[in-house]
């Protein structure tokens, strides 16, 4: 089950991505629960950053911050990305399982989770000429996360770098197709629902 080792493992992965992700795939060191917890923490710190970053660096209308919707949105995005990547890599001889992909994405978010809140606190103490420091921290964390995702996908599927980039690009297209199909489905279901609704109204009025 979940033990202390599992919670410490993301930190190991962060500094040893190749070994770390390999062991997730082949030795069962990863945990989907921890990955989802990291996604949740990322969502929380993302919202906190949007709401509480200092006035000097914060260009977000505080009224527009809705942490519940943002966290739900981030979960949805992670799920979409995992599904689309899984559906592409399945066809392209990827060795990773769905739970590995989910774990990779979750664990890769650790640098963002670790830096967003300290960066928010730091932003309270910077004036406009020093805001570069704040942006530097955020940018480094973002780049770190992207690198981790690429390495993770590469390792768990046993791909070359070029193939990883290609599959990520194809995953993005698959993601768009999935969104399109979801919208289509919603629209069609709406039509069906409206048909039955009008049928019901018609019957009620006839009786």
């Amino acid at each position: 089950m979940i033990n202390k080792e599992k919670f410490k493992y993301p930190f190991y992965v962060m500094v040893h991505p190749f070994d770390g992700f390999y062991e997730i795939r082949h030795r069962g060191k990863g945990s989907v629960f921890v990955a989802l917890l990291l996604v949740l923490l990322f969502g929380l710190s993302f919202s906190i950053n949007r709401r509480y970053a200092s006035f000097v660096v914060n260009y977000v209308n505080p009224l527009s911050v809705d942490s519940r919707a943002e966290i739900a949105g981030i979960f949805f995005a992670v799920l979409l990305l995992a599904v689309s990547n899984w559906s592409i890599t399945c066809l392209m001889e990827g060795e990773g399982r769905f739970k590995d992909i989910l774990t990779v994405i979750g664990y890769s978010l650790l640098p963002m989770v670790l830096t967003l809140i300290p960066a928010t606190i730091l932003s309270w103490f910077v004036a406009s000429s020093e805001e570069g420091l704040y942006y530097l921290i955020i940018t480094i964390a973002t780049i770190f996360t992207v690198i981790l995702v690429v390495i993770g996908i590469m390792t768990i599927h046993n791909y070359t770098f070029g193939k990883t980039i290609a599959t990520l690009f194809l995953s993005f297209i698959a993601l768009l197709i999935i969104i399109f199909i979801i919208l289509l489905l919603i629209y069609l279901l709406q039509q069906v629902f409206m048909f039955f609704q009008s049928l019901y109204t018609e019957v009620i009025l006839k009786i």
């Binding site: 006035f55 000097v56 260009y59 209308n61 009224l63 103490f125 004036a127 406009s128 000429s129």
Partner: protein
């Protein structure tokens, strides 16, 4: 008991009567609103209220016929280009008829105007008339005698079949004349004081989006011929300040920039407010509009008036609104609307200002609508004037009064914040700059505040650092000693 009641009735009536003018002033026939930092609309008190119309009929000179331009000279006289009646009507500053100019002597013969669209008067009372259908600009002396005619400009940059039909005209202190002519897209035509054409000024560059470029590349030659031509927008209205800067309006269907301030070299030097969520506020009236139907599309700015102290107002003919900006490009207030009530427009074409009054010429109604500043409007005007002159300290009292009337007015918070910053109350200043959404000044105030705190507590901070370092050394020494002991025990 009964006596008291009798005494009460007139008292109540008096109270009601006292209320009536207040009610009338607060219910204007148009929306008065403004945009905040986040570009949300919020409703404000009326900055200007209607204060009567002047038509040709109630002066006794017959109805104005499609009048196109109005100008207030420096001595307060008001000139109206009564286009359809081929005459210029002059009022004095109290809006009483002074004279009608419908003819002048040209080389011994009597000459007349033909649908004059524009009128302008210099500081020494020389009258410039854009005599559109006669294809010339007429310049008259104060006594009505002809000074010069500007016609038939010749230049390599003009097409040979070019017809010069001027619509709007202004002249600067040195006699340079700027003319907006019909079907001219290259810019404003500039003439020297002898009436020779010197070139175009203030040309607006055409911007073509990448999408349009790709689309054009893909289409065939015949398709390209059918597509709309990318031509620069036309200028619509002109005004000039005492330093010779030309304020010119143009149609911008994207609603980004409809007014320009051109220096004598023809470059646009207008300032746009940086205090905006998009980083650069637009200078084009409304930010949002309906896409179809009545009153749809971006504001069609047709005229501008420079009101001194950096303040200028622009007139939108689509929705009949008047937008007033300060020298930094902040939107100060919005008023006016279309309709058939008193104080609304049918087809507003020109705007002028005199003291705390704004005059708008309505071509369809043939009337001059006047608007007077309310307390709210004149407080803002005066505060901006004081700020323009650098007297921010005296402006503070006015800003405070503005906030009593409209607590959403961000500029007032910035104004008060600046004076707090000057007086050293950095913490309070930060609060005000945050309310005024001014990051630049907030940052300055914050820096000073931080420096003050550091300075006050430097002793404690240094002591803490020294104590912590000593503690760390002691602890590590103790650990070493412990480890040594443990080893020996083994």
């Amino acid at each position: 008991m009964k006596r008291i009641k009798i005494w009460l009735i007139p008292a109540i009536i008096l109270m009601l009567l006292d209320c009536v003018p207040v009610l009338a002033a607060s219910s204007v026939p148009y929306h008065t609103y403004n945009y905040d930092y986040w570009e949300n609309i919020y409703y404000t008190p009326a900055a200007y209220i209607p204060s009567g119309n002047i038509s040709g009929v109630n002066i006794g000179i017959g109805m104005f016929s499609n009048p196109q331009d109005i100008f207030v000279a420096e001595d307060g006289n008001v000139y109206v280009a009564d286009t359809g009646n081929n005459r210029i009507v002059v009022f004095d500053s109290n809006m009483r008829l002074k004279r009608i100019i419908d003819s002048f002597e040209n080389e011994g013969k009597e000459d007349t105007f033909s649908s004059p669209h524009g009128v302008f008067v210099t500081a020494d009372n020389k009258l410039y008339v854009a005599d559109t259908s006669n294809l010339r600009v007429v310049v008259l002396n104060e006594d009505g005698s002809l000074l010069k005619l500007i016609s038939n400009p010749t230049s390599e940059v003009l097409a040979s079949d070019f017809v010069f039909s001027p619509l709007k005209v202004v002249a600067d202190y040195s006699g340079r004349v700027y003319v907006i002519a019909k079907n001219i897209f290259q810019g404003i035509m500039a003439f020297d004081d002898n009436g020779n054409f010197t070139g175009f000024t203030g040309t607006i560059n055409v911007t073509i989006s990448t999408y349009e470029k790709i689309w054009r590349r893909l289409s065939t030659k015949r398709q390209r011929e059918k597509q709309i031509q990318f031509i620069p927008t036309e200028f619509t209205g002109l005004d000039i300040d005492a330093d010779g800067f030309v304020y010119a309006t143009n149609i911008d269907s994207n609603g980004r920039q409809s007014v320009r301030k051109l220096n004598p070299k023809g470059q646009d030097v207008i300032k746009k407010a940086a205090r905006n969520v998009r980083g650069e506020a637009s200078l084009s009236g409304d930010l949002f509009w309906r896409l179809q139907g009545d009153y749809s599309g971006a504001s069609r700015i047709v005229d501008v008036v420079y009101r001194g102290y950096g303040i200028y107002s622009i007139l939108d003919t689509t929705r009949g609104r008047i937008f007033t900006y300060d020298d930094e490009g902040n939107l100060l207030y919005i008023f006016g609307g279309r309709g058939s009530q008193e104080g609304t427009f049918k087809n507003p074409v020109a705007i002028e200002a005199v003291d705390d009054k704004i005059l708008v010429l309505d071509a369809y109604r043939g009337e001059i609508m006047t608007f007077t500043a309310t307390r709210y409007g004149s407080l803002i005007n005066r505060a901006v004037c004081l700020r323009y002159e650098g007297d921010e300290a005296s402006a503070v009292e006015l800003w405070k009064q503005v906030l009593e009337l409209d607590s959403n007015f961000e500029l007032a918070y910035v104004g008060i914040g600046k004076s707090l910053l000057a007086s050293g109350d950095n913490k309070k200043a930060m609060e005000y700059f945050k309310l005024g959404m001014d990051r630049e000044y907030y940052s300055i105030a914050y820096k000073r505040y931080r420096d003050d705190i550091l300075e006050d507590n430097l002793g404690y901070i240094l002591t803490a650092i020294v104590v912590l370092t000593i503690l760390k050394i002691v602890v590590s020494q103790a650990r070493k000693a412990n480890a040594g002991k443990a080893e020996r025990r083994l």
